[in-house]
């Protein structure tokens, strides 16, 4: 199929499902502003993997059964989470400091255990290091099933819990008055992230799984203003990154799968950052430029109307290019008309802002918006009569 090998298809499917689950679960972490927790969760898995290996060997097993290793990873990650939670609740440490402390200590301990395993059981441990950066080379069909099932379960849990998680993310105090326990919803959210992390250890590795939890969510945020859409889009971006990364890495020999998956996600993030409408960097620059242009045009026209000299070169260029002034700075016919319109608008605003009952409209004065886009024709007429009457400035 598609000219891809069996192993590649297996990995691409597994990585796609993993990316989908990671994207959706990561979206809720991001909405709750707890993205960094995924860092602690993932690093805290390492000692568990090593201890599980030792236990399985001690029991006479081969020590490399994926389910056993992942169970160990989940348990030690849970311990790490509990410690972060305890430090945050019962000491003066903030959550960021607690995360930093726990992730480095657990990771360090895990590396020590890996080194010990290497010296005592030479040969048999081969493959444990692959949990650091992921490895798909020797992936079995059974491994793919474990990953696919775990990812699907995490995804289903996200669907069921989407309302409580959104409610608690937006307004935890209000959620509490609705009978939800923010602490328990947070715990469920962390459990989801933990499940995704553990499932992803084999493919992406514990160091890079963080990227797969965070990048799709922040990329998705650029494109939408709705939380459900952020979660869906993050799932889509994660899934595409997973599958595309797995396929890309199979195109050349010895390309690492995990890092390529993360690079694909990073590329999607970069494109979103630069090109997304309204929230993207480019859209921001364009909006700023267009605003600057409107300000200069307006100020230039008002200067023309009042017979002032225009000093700024940019304003002169703008008016010349729009055909409003000639090269010598004198207004063209079109320029005179536009200037008169701007001056009239300014006078209307002046009168309008002096009327107490026009306060809601007056509040929208920004020096640029023409008043006749906010008022009806008869309101404008009334304004003009007032302008011409006693006390008017016309």
């Amino acid at each position: 199929m598609l000219g891809l090998g069996y192993n590649t298809l297996l990995v691409a499917t597994g990585a796609g499902l993993l990316g989908l689950a990671a994207g959706v679960a990561g979206a809720f972490l991001y909405l709750r502003k707890r993205s960094l927790m995924s860092d602690a969760i993932s690093h805290a898995t390492l000692p568990g993997v090593a201890v599980a290996f030792l236990v399985m060997v001690a029991l006479g097993g081969e020590g490399r059964a994926l389910v056993g290793l992942l169970t160990g990873a989940a348990l030690s990650s849970l311990a790490g989470l509990a410690i972060v939670h305890w430090l945050n609740r019962h000491t003066r440490l903030g959550e960021d400091a607690a995360i930093g402390a726990v992730l480095s200590v657990f990771f360090g301990f895990g590396i020590v255990l890996l080194t010990v395993i290497q010296t005592i059981g030479a040969g048999r441990q081969a493959g444990l290091e692959s949990f650091l950066l992921g490895s798909t080379a020797g992936m079995l069909r059974a491994d793919a099933w474990v990953i696919a099932a775990g990812g699907a379960l995490a995804l289903a849990a996200c669907v069921v819990l989407r309302r409580p998680m959104t409610l608690v993310s937006f307004d935890p105090e209000y959620a509490a008055t609705q009978g939800l326990s923010p602490a328990r919803v947070d715990m469920a959210m962390m459990a989801l992230a933990l499940a995704v992390t553990v499932v992803g250890l084999k493919i992406v590795g514990l160091i890079l799984i963080v990227a797969l939890l965070i990048l799709p969510a922040v990329a998705a945020r650029f494109w939408t203003e709705r939380s459900e859409a952020v979660a869906l889009l993050a799932g889509l971006i994660g899934g595409v990154s997973g599958s595309a990364g797995a396929i890309l890495s199979s195109l050349a020999p010895d390309l690492p799968t995990g890092p390529i998956i993360v690079l694909v996600a990073a590329a999607i993030f970069t494109v979103s950052l630069l090109l997304a409408p309204t929230r993207g960097v480019l859209a921001g620059v364009l909006a700023q430029l267009s605003f600057r242009r409107r300000v200069h045009l307006r100020q230039g026209l008002l200067a023309l109307a009042h017979g002032h000299r225009i000093h700024e070169a940019y304003t002169q260029r703008l008016l010349r290019r729009s055909g409003l002034i000639r090269a010598d700075g004198v207004a063209t016919e079109a320029g005179q008309r536009a200037a008169a319109r701007a001056a009239l608008d300014e006078r209307r605003w002046h009168v309008l802002r002096g009327l107490p009952d026009a306060a809601p409209v007056s509040a929208r004065y920004d020096g640029l918006t023409p008043v006749d886009t906010l008022l009806t024709a008869d309101q404008i007429a009334a304004l003009d009569r007032r302008m011409a009457g006693p006390g008017g400035t016309a």
Binding site: E173, Y174, Q178, S227
Partner: protein, 271 residues
């Protein structure tokens, strides 16, 4: 409610007995007793740091209680959640959260919808009606980050309305809002009162208390006075709650009939 024949139906919407809340070792609210009268608008007033918002949050179970009982309509609080709506301070959330006005209002329907219940046309119409009631129907599909402070406050009120509750608890609903919003909010609250609902609001503007509210609960850590505005909202009670923190001009304005010549230690009670 009215169809309920048990005596509990006639119980006060909210009674608080011996409520103490503490952040660390210093109590923020100490031994507060409060009885909220049905169908009335009650203001919780007191100086900054007097525990007004904390009292409200402790009643709602948002902050843990050190001691004390809370009963709602004569029943334990937990069994009556559906009859209580809360309007938090608008500064308490991140307004860059990716959600629209209508979505926030629909959050008030969570107890009806549950985990998987489908949002139907009826739910959407209810949310729109609530928005219309606070004058925000045209803003339904706006992103919440585009709203002004007063509009944010109205959205929170609409979310509470969507719950269809009998008891409304509001935390400083008029803080930092424009005049038009203040009027819109008070109109909605008065219409709720006309429907027989009960309203309890933390309030900071003493000059509007007699216009807006029927009853007051004055607190400074522990309760200072409680009752109808005419009886409890006195110069004496305010002076005891606020100490020297009240501007003299404000008291004169609130109680013009009081003799300002009387030494402040023994202020005259108004007739």
């Amino acid at each position: 409610m009215t169809t309920d024949p048990t005596p509990a139906a006639k119980a006060a919407p909210l009674t608080v007995r011996g409520l103490t809340v503490s952040y660390g070792a210093a109590p923020a609210v100490f031994s507060a007793d409060m009885t909220v009268a049905p169908g009335a608008m009650t203001a919780i007033i007191g100086p900054n740091g007097a525990g007004k918002s904390t009292l409200l949050k402790a009643v709602l179970g948002i902050v843990p209680r050190l001691s004390g009982q809370v009963e709602v309509f004569g029943q334990p609080f937990d069994t009556q959640r559906a009859r209580i709506a809360y309007v938090p301070q608008r500064a308490s959330v991140d307004w860059d959260f990716p959600t629209r006005v209508i979505d926030v209002v629909q959050m008030g329907l969570y107890r009806q919808l549950g985990l998987l219940g489908r949002v139907t046309g009826r739910h959407r119409q209810l949310a729109l009606d609530c928005l219309a009631r606070v004058g925000m129907a045209d803003f339904a599909t706006r992103q919440i980050g585009q709203l002004s402070g007063g509009q944010q406050q109205r959205v929170f009120l609409a979310r509470a309305l969507a719950q269809g509750a009998d008891l409304y608890l509001l935390d400083e609903p008029f803080a930092g809002v424009d005049a038009a919003t203040e009027k819109a909010i008070i109109d909605v609250l008065k219409s709720l009162k006309a429907e027989g609902k009960t309203i309890l609001a933390v309030h900071h503007d003493l000059s509007t208390v007699p216009d807006y509210f029927d009853r007051v609960f004055i607190i400074n850590k522990s309760p200072v006075a409680e009752g109808a505005v005419a009886q409890a909202f006195t110069q004496d009670a305010l002076q005891r709650a606020y100490g020297g923190r009240l501007a003299a001009g404000l008291l004169d304005q609130l109680f013009p009939q009081a003799q300002t010549a009387v030494p402040p230690a023994f202020p005259a009670r108004p007739a």
